[in-house]
Symmetry: C2
Subunit: 224 residues, 2 copies
DNA sequence: ACCTGAACACCGTTCAAGT
DNA sequence: ACCTGAACACCGTTCAAGT
């Protein structure tokens, strides 16, 4: 991400769907969801905004395509050699890390249900669940719970990042501010939130995520 | 919510934060997330767009406030008399139904992490988990898994609705179209998605949601 | 204190016109 | 076939001016 010299904006060659998607990913990574604009994208590609519409139908399709590129990469990198449980952890963790690196993927995935990116994830999880020996009648229920959990955590993590970013805070100071806000809640109405506020500041998102996966795997195990 | 006669657009009395939030909820329910516009809201309240800013800082705050009103209602309605497990199911189901009725709440909740609406839910889940006897060191991990799952399913359900709505389809025909899309995927690359496509059309979202909750509760039980 | 509504700086998308 | 860029119909938000 920082090896080659800061090459001048090239316009060599012509536009293409892939080139547009690649540029969109860079823009999303750099400026967040609100940074993806047809004008900004056009500027980066040295064209006018209208040119993009020749290759891509609209902003929604662009977002899904960018999201799909990231998910496909993450899925192809997940190692699947070990036990089915280990594979599920690897798939889930791969997705977690991908969303962590590209927060916009979190909400993009959630907002495009049933589309290719989500199906890629579902496919991988489903195959491992089959290996695990989940009964046919419980297959749908089980993948869908796992998928919801992965997407849920991912979306929330992404939201955390974006919320912090929007307020100009680092992750730590964002968590700290939420933590003190919780500890100042009404004692009678929010005893639990108050008492858990301290643990908020020094938890590990990745560990918590995995612990949740293990909770679900534990539940699956108990029923198999 | 439906007792009094269909009163004509009133402008009696003055604007207030509560009145604005109430109107925002109606607008969101009727026209979806993209329907909430300061101009549309102002029209409904018989004022100019600027007037709203006297009572509310910006659109984000308005969305969170509207979301909070719905969550507060749902939480206060959840019955908590029975066992902790039953309480957790009731809380989760209450949230599921609330999001089902007001799909915009799904993404609003997700996009405002650590804010009041999410804390309400966390508080209720946390108290029940304590009753259940979850060990202190596992409390944070456990609530956060449960919360992520609830929000994840909710957000996805909401996205389903909105996706279908945007394409002018009913839930059933939307699911049917996704189902046929999945069954036409490449056989070598997507065996699982293809084989499960059929089950997609006739599943029950609510039942699947509860089954996922039970999976997590099963995992918690195994560790307690 | 509260409201008005024009104005500012943006959006996504379209489309005639160019090559 | 592919690109250009002005134009359209919107946004959220601000702010002088009114009551």
């Amino acid at each position: 991400m920082a090896k080659k010299p800061p090459a001048p904006p090239r316009r060599e060659g012509s536009l293409s769907r892939d080139r547009i998607i690649e540029a969109a990913i860079v823009l999303l990574d750099e400026a967040g969801e609100s940074g993806l604009t047809f004008r900004a994208l056009a500027e980066r590609l040295v064209t006018g905004p209208g040119a993009i519409y020749w290759h891509i139908a609209n902003k929604g399709e662009l977002l899904i395509a960018a999201c799909d590129a990231i998910v496909a990469r993450a899925m192809s990198e997940a190692r699947l050699d070990a036990s089915p449980e280990a594979s599920i952890r690897a798939i889930a963790l791969g997705m977690f890390d991908a969303i962590d690196e590209h927060p916009w993927v979190g909400s993009a995935l959630t907002h495009a249900p049933g589309q290719l990116p989500a199906v890629r994830l579902l496919e991988r999880l489903g195959r491992s669940l089959r290996e695990l020996g989940v009964r046919r009648e419980r297959e749908w229920t089980t993948v869908s719970a796992l998928l919801s959990y992965v997407l849920g955590v991912g979306a929330q993590n992404a939201a955390n990042r974006q919320f912090a970013f929007a307020e100009g805070l680092e992750r730590d100071s964002f968590l700290a501010s939420v933590s003190t806000a919780w500890s100042e809640l009404d004692a009678a109405e929010y005893p639990f939130a108050r008492s858990i506020a301290a643990q908020l500041s020094d938890h590990d998102d990745r560990e918590d995520f995995l612990a949740g996966i293990d909770l679900i795997l534990g539940g699956i195990h108990a029923l198999t």
